[in-house]
Amino acid sequence: MHAPNTSQKDRAVLALQNVEARPGVSKPDPIIVADNVVRQFGGLTAVNVEHVEIQRGAITALIGPNGAGKTTFFNLLTGFDKPNSGNWTFNGVELAGVAPHKVARMGMVRTFQLTKALFRLSVMDNMRLGAKNQIGEGILRSLLPFFWRNQEAQITARAEELLQRFKLDAKKDDFAAALSGGQRKLLEMARALMVEPELVMLDEPMAGVNPALTQSLLEHIKDLREQGMTVLFVEHDMDMVRDISDWVIVMAEGKVVAEGPPNSVMSNPAVIDAYLGAHHDLTLEED
């Protein structure tokens, strides 16, 4: 079968190579399966996804022009918004109506388009906050440090390791507000990893990041896959998407209009329609 040094990328590509490139196609090993998810804002249908599956262990990009409903779909999947109808599962567990913090505890952790660094907490405290099942987060036991001191030390050690990987270790005692925009993106991603997620959902991880840092962000995202995590990210810059994703899902006007491997999906007429029909300039910045 696989050579022992087979990378997760090769495995993901292999798994997806025989999957037909059409909207709503089923995948060999889906981590998320969504059916008939509809979200309306007044008369506007922001999301209307009939069926979509996200392959486990792969990097899936969710792309589409402005207003396609990508972020709304993200919010629905993670419990931050409630759909008018529809249901979806994560690892086979029904997730519709589950509160966002419970979704995160199950191993599906998201980041935000507008970075949410916790400004008046130190970088290290931002990281520590991410750790699950903390004894000292109970109101009574928080008063008795001997209950949580050991766990806190373990959490700190793990946070330090991650900060090193993301090259933020020199900043660990600074307030998060002192970081640059790109560093905040890195911090948010590192913090999400403290939750030990199975599925990492990144909402425009590259938005507002300078080109030098973009490269390092891309490497980190590839790293997540190598460590066995599944990645789903929203992006609208096709060049980034082509470089790192194993599979691309295209949304337009709330619907999934195309799916496929990154190299072929952009030649799909539905995608060209979606992008060029309403928006002539592909490099338009969102929001």
Binding site: T78, F80, A99, P100, H101, K102, A104, R105, V109, R110, T111, F112, K116, A117, L118, F119, R120, L121, D125, N126, R128, L129, G130, K132, Q134, I135, G136, E137, G138, I139, S142, L143, P145, W148, E152, F175, A177, A178, G181, E188, R191, A192, M194, V195
Partner: protein
Amino acid sequence: MDFLFIFQQAISAAIGVNAIIYALAAIGLNLHFGYTGLLNFGQAGFLAVGAYTVAVLVVSFEVSIWLAFLAGIGMSILLALILGIPTLRLRADYLAIVTIAAAEIIRQVARSVTLREYFGGSDGITGKFGADFFALNPFKAGLDTPILRFTPNDLWVVLVGWVLVALFVVLTWAIVRSPWGRVIKAIREDEDAVRSLGKSVYLYKMQSLILGGVIGSFAGFVYAISRQSVQPDNYSTALTFFAYTVLILGGAARVLGPVVGSIIFWFLLVFVEQILRQAVANDLIPDWLLNPNQVGQIRFILVGLGLMLLMIYRPQGIFGDKKELALNARA
């Protein structure tokens, strides 16, 4: 001008009963507003519930005062739940609206004619309901020194009051440096980020509201016991806003902020008042400019002016960190 007297009055106020009441109220608010970012504009309601529970139970139902204190804590927890359950899921401003309204409802119910039998209407409840507490007073003589002046009962209240303040300061210190404190500070910064990391924001906000409210009810106990009476209009919105003044003066999200703020606030208020009174009495200020009846109002104007200057030149409060405050402006 008798400066010794002025200082005696001002220093006695700075460590007196009022300073304790406002310090306790502000310690509770510090947990709500300073650490969790909850805009509780009804702290007076928690004090009223604490004070009235003790007064009503002891006077009308002849319950032991110690049980009445426990009941007061229970009632403040109940109030926090009633306020929190509908509002803590909503945006922060809803809590502000609901709490300010709730505190006014409590005051209006307490002063209502219909319930006069229990709450004494606008006169409140007077009686020796602190007798069991004062029976334990070890001080036979009061304090009458050039700097401090207290009656024996005041001395006992002040001693117990400052012990309470110290206890709650230590509690605040211990809890905000713990992982629990980290979560509530993170909620203050951004709720959604905390949700995305798997924490139940609602639960933590509720815990914070209850804990700060219970500390507020202790301020109510001190208020009631020290005066041996409760009056509804003592628990008006002005009390809440003075507590906020005390908190911001000392520095929000600082463990000692409320205590230092309260001491300075009461020192200044009484100091300014006594200076004005003496100046008027000694004709240093002519009668057409200021008469003795106006001093009470003028002192608030002057102290208010001072606070405005403080906010302009030291917006972080006495203990606050200006760097940290500047970060609050979301980039």
